[in-house]
Symmetry: C2
Subunit: 478 residues, 2 copies
């Protein structure tokens, strides 16, 4: 496996293949989510879906195929998505009268349906989510992070007032933060996108942004206040309490299988994957050690211990294959299992077990009758420690003292020379597209978001030196 | 709402719209699964997925787009599916070199991947399931039962031996039977499809078949033993223990959102939906009754009772809207909620509640402190009663004494005159395609399956009168 420091992309591609998370396919830009990769997504789905339902949302399913004319109804939307669309032009042996796009997102078809469903303020709010496959025919792809077909959820809500729609936008952004920070142990910055990075058709776009171990950014979830853009395009009107017809205010919000990629790039190391306990398909692997002839004796303790650990709600697996313990240790480390439990004949004699942590490499010896409690506590500790480690990494690679393009270029060349990630810079921005474009052109750093709670407030624009209107995270991004 | 006896299709279409389960869309043959319809699917998914995992299967996700050349590799497969495929011919602003089909089922792409993954007997069995959207461009559509896009699961497994693959085929058929009978309360016949009704590319196809209230059949799940047909087409070979290269034996099995349609057509009546408790999104609705001025008094009992019922794990909802109790009773009956709980001031005085069953219309009065236990028992009883009712209906409309086409035609005209469902006939069959085709041509009755445990054994072919090789269920089918 290529070390991270040598070539991070290579390391990533090696790791996800070796850990059996995905495979390439003959369909351009499309991957197979293999069971070990897909199960990560199932745990993410479970965490998200629970929170969506707790906040009153319900799931539905809308057609994947969208008539070409639907895209025309919101001008910015078609401009943003048209270059990336795959089109169905024939079906059932005949050419279609109107070609149908494979959905890149569903604002248009959902907007059309909402215009039929919403008549009165009594029909509001509409709070619907959809789990679905979507398509964006990307030129450059990267497994999980950018593929032609990917899986996601997209929430689409309609409200009587701007205030309520804006509250919804923020509520869902906060749910994304909570799942990504608390379940995936990935620290994020909540903030607003600059106009050039807005979703095509949104009034305001908000995001959570995460730093990978190569210092690059991933947008880990977005939430859009769409205003009346889509309700005007699709005529979604309602009769309000005051007997006036009004356009609804809509929102949309999405998170995707990109999160799998982020999870790997934030926590993985040169030994392979490292999975936070809350999202790990296997939280603990049990491996018997010692000479084969003593195996029967070990199993007398091993089997009831397995039952007790499983009973305690831990996702536990045993590895009884014929390979050597050392081979198994490497295998499960590479697959990122948070805790390894070893049990040998001497441990049985001493009424103890060995627990090894994937996150720190630390090994501890625990009394057998304390094993279950210790494991439960350890899972909590590992989850916290992995978050803290990722946070410390992020902060160590966040630069708050870069105040000009020269300084940014200098940072980039210095870190590149050192073989270190250049990381992110928190910079002032005058608010013009020109300056944002120039930063990108000269450094490939793009604006990530305008954080709600910036760690500092910058006074001057990193590009033109004029007074800053915003304090913005800039970084190279996936 | 049209009564069932007047026009069953009309009743079905009225009911699913009125109960807000679906909506039509501008995309030909594609529907929206609205939240109340989709939630039925979520409960079905949950019941299936749990059993798939318990039997060692794991979920994965394969690309939706399948290159045209893949379909050519299994001759019967392409012949079976080609007329129904939608094709992507352009993407990202350019025509594609090879057109891509929207999957109608995934044997081909999965076969291709398995040929990469399987090298040795140690790699077997491969036990993978996928939850996905699929496309079959149907000429005549019917919401849930036959739509151009639908949702399903498709299992795809590969085994070292025919015996093991055949066991898998039967195991999954039994899981379908279990979920459909025990969760959806729909009795089914397990059996084998005749060759003309086999899945395109299968060696043997098995199904579970259910009778709707109009006497027509729905295939509620299928499981296929594919033999070496796909492993030869896609070169899925493995090195066996005996050091020989062999082709794997594959299976596939699927169940879909058709089950939602079956659920409605089996249990619904002229008052609307009737949902078995295990699949009902709402198992019990609580409605306060009596004069508005006494509402506060009622709520003092109502609220803690709600908490206690919820605590007991019942999916409970309260209806506190301003409409009259009578209006609400009709509304929740129409939506199929198994139990309605009424609580008025007099009930509070008498320490009692009223429970009304959707399945029998029966109303019982129960002491307040017995309410939770009674509800739990009632949910079990209703589940059983709904199954028994459906079973009695099915058996009453299953004809075991029809031994010729004349008798079948007579049965059809007699039942049509009476305004009754013609139902199913259990008939002998000589085993020739000709006789099967003639039955279909003359009566529109098609072979459903050859039941494993037929209620009788027929000696002569219903068509030619020759010795029967099989005893087969014939029926009109969706």
């Amino acid at each position: 496996m290529t070390p991270q420091s040598e070539d991070f992309s290579r390391w990533y591609l090696d790791t996800i293949r070796k850990a059996d998370l995905m495979d390439y396919t003959p369909v351009r830009g499309c991957i197979v989510f293999k069971p070990d990769g897909f199960e990560l997504w199932e745990h993410i789905q479970e965490a998200m879906d629970k929170r969506f339902k707790e906040t009153g949302h319900r799931n539905a399913y809308f057609p994947m195929l969208i008539p070409e004319s639907f895209f025309q109804k919101e001008k910015e939307h078609i401009e943003g998505f048209n270059p990336e669309l795959p089109w169905v032009t024939e079906a059932g042996g005949e050419p279609l009268e109107e070609k149908l796009a494979l959905r890149p997102t569903s604002e248009t078809i959902i907007g059309h349906m909402y215009s039929q469903w919403i008549q009165s303020y009594r029909d509001l709010p509409v709070l619907i989510n959809q789990w679905a496959n979507v398509f964006r025919w990307e030129k450059r792809t990267m497994p999980f992070l950018r593929t032609s077909e990917f899986l996601w959820q997209e929430g689409h809500t309609a409200h009587a007032t701007e205030e309520e729609a804006r509250q919804e936008t923020m509520q869902m952004l906060e749910i994304y933060r909570e799942v990504v920070e608390e379940v995936l142990a990935i620290p994020v910055w909540k903030g607003q996108k600059t106009p050039s990075e807005r979703f095509a058709g949104a009034v305001d776009t908000y995001s959570i942004e995460a730093m990978m171990k190569d210092g690059k950014a991933v947008q880990a979830g977005t939430s859009h206040y769409l205003g009346e853009n889509f309700s005007r395009g699709f005529e979604i009107k309602f009769l309000d309490r005051d007997n006036q017809f009004k356009y609804v205010h809509t929102t949309s919000w999405g998170s995707s299988t990109r999160l799998i990629g982020s999870l790997i790039m934030v926590h993985g190391d040169d030994r392979g994957l490292a999975l936070p306990p809350r999202v790990a398909p296997i939280q603990l692997v049990m491996i018997p050690v010692g000479p084969a002839k003593l195996q029967a004796k070990v199993m007398e303790t091993f089997d009831p211990l397995f039952d007790a650990i499983k009973q305690a709600g831990v996702r536990v697996k045993t590895d009884l294959r014929e390979e050597t313990p050392g081979w198994k240790f490497n295998e499960w480390e590479m697959r990122g299992v948070p805790i390894r439990l070893e049990l040998g004949p001497r441990d049985v004699d001493n009424n103890q077990v060995i627990l090894a942590r994937r996150d720190t490499g630390e090994k501890i010896t625990v009394a057998l009758d304390q094993a279950v409690d210790t494991i439960k506590q350890l899972l909590v500790d590992i989850q916290n420690n992995m978050f803290q480690k990722a946070l410390a990494f992020r902060d160590a690679h966040s630069h708050l003292d870069v105040d000009s393009l020269d300084q940014l270029n200098e940072l980039i060349s210095r870190t590149e020379q050192e073989g270190q990630p250049s990381g992110w810079v928190l910079a002032g921005w005058c608010g013009t597209n020109e300056c944002e474009a120039k930063v990108k052109e000269e450094t490939k750093f793009t604006s990530r978001n305008i954080p709600f709670e910036p760690p500092a407030v910058k006074e001057t624009c990193i590009c033109c030196g004029q007074a800053a209107k915003q304090t913005v995270w800039f970084a190279r991004a996936y």
